[in-house]
């Protein structure tokens, strides 16, 4: 199955991550609103709901929080 291989590749790529990162005083860009992953949560939730009712796959980004009778 493809999934275990993909997970292995991701984990291998990320274990090289212990040397990645920035010093605390280098965070001014990372702290911006538009750099946050969950910065547009309402829009993402609305989109997730639309695609959940029109496609067979859903989620992955986080927990959608909600079910409906549409799929």
């Amino acid at each position: 199955m493809r999934m275990p291989l993909l997970i292995l590749l991701s984990v291998t790529a990320l274990t090289g991550c212990s040397s990645l990162g920035v010093q605390p005083w280098e965070r001014e860009v990372l702290a911006r609103d538009d750099m946050q992953f969950d910065g547009a949560a309402v829009e993402a939730a609305l989109d997730d709901h639309i695609y959940f009712s029109k496609e067979a796959s859903s989620g992955g980004r986080g927990f959608g929080g909600g079910g409906c009778g549409c799929n």
């Binding site: 010093q23 605390p24 005083w25 990372l30 702290a31 911006r32 609103d33 946050q36």
Partner: protein, 301 residues
């Protein structure tokens, strides 16, 4: 230490201008409530010049300033200028009112403690070797002559940034009637209240979680704000966290110090001093600030 390029980034916002530059190993910004780009540029350049001047004069990393001269004096008396004398007088006062907890000669303990989140805790023997070189009481300070014992070092790191903010603020107050917020890496001051009556909104960064904008927001209309904290500079061994705030009387970190203390006061120097003194009181940080009647916020974990 390499000096990063000394350039100022100026950008406009709605109703104010923002200048950004680096100084004293910190991101610095100046917010000026003006619509005039020329005024904004002038103010920013003055503030940056002030910051770089103080960095050049008092940074312990430079091989060509009064601090270097003092630290390599080897016991020889050094005559210092008015500004340095002022800082030394201030340090002497803080040493006295804090009963020895605040001490600009304590920097040599850095040789024993490496605060990088690692697990190196020095032995008492190592600390005992360094303690003879720590202690403002061992210094002969008769203005304008300073004599250290051979092997002692001074470091203005604990008061330099706040002093620079206040000096920059005084310069701007004389120069411009625009409300200006001067922020050197989280230690900041306002030159005068904003014309619109709105406060300057300042964020205090959270002590943990993924990188986030602010854990609390402060509306600052007048005065200054400074923080003392150990978010990243600590040692963790056997589940005990050793903060980077060292008690110079023992050479060991202050026990049960909060993670971050933020104080509001009329000047940045006062705010920073109170924040540092609070940290040095460890578990009694909150009580200390309440007794002082200072507006403060403490993050304990």
């Amino acid at each position: 230490m390499d000096t990063p390029s000394r350039k100022i980034d100026l950008g406009s916002a709605d109703g104010y201008w923002i200048g950004r530059f680096g100084a004293m190993a910190n991101p610095c910004e100046v917010l000026i409530e003006t619509t005039s780009a020329a005024e904004a540029r002038d103010v920013c350049e003055r503030v940056a010049a002030c910051a770089w001047r103080i960095e050049d004069r008092f940074s312990r990393y430079r091989p060509d300033n009064v601090v270097h001269a003092i630290n390599s004096s080897g016991g020889v008396p050094i005559t210092v200028d008015e500004e340095t004398a002022g800082l030394l007088d201030f340090a002497a006062t803080l040493h006295r009112v804090s009963a020895g907890r605040f001490d600009i000669t304590s920097g040599v303990l850095r040789r024993a403690w490496i605060f990088d989140g690692g697990v190196q805790v020095p032995s008492q023997a190592v600390i005992d070797e360094i303690l003879p070189y720590v202690g403002w009481a061992k210094v002969i300070w008769e203005r304008p002559v300073l004599t250290l014992l051979p092997g002692m070092q001074i470091d203005f790191g604990g008061i330099g940034k706040e002093y620079a903010v206040d000096q920059a603020a005084r310069t701007v107050q004389a120069l411009s009637s625009a409300s200006t917020l001067i922020n050197f890496g989280g230690d900041l001051a306002i030159t005068r209240p904003r014309r619109t009556g709105h406060p300057w909104r300042v964020g205090i960064e959270a002590t943990h979680g993924p990188p986030r904008v602010a854990s609390r927001l402060i509306d600052l209309r007048d005065g200054a704000l400074a923080s003392s904290g150990d978010t990243y500079r600590f040692v963790l061994k056997d589940g005990r966290r050793y903060s980077h705030i060292l008690d110079p009387r023992t050479g060991w970190p202050v026990e049960h110090a909060p993670r971050c203390v933020t104080v509001a006061a009329p000047t940045c120097t006062q705010a920073g001093t109170l924040a540092t003194l609070a940290m040095l009181h460890g578990a009694a940080a909150g009580r200390f600030l309440e007794v002082e009647g200072a507006r403060h916020w403490i993050q304990w974990s």
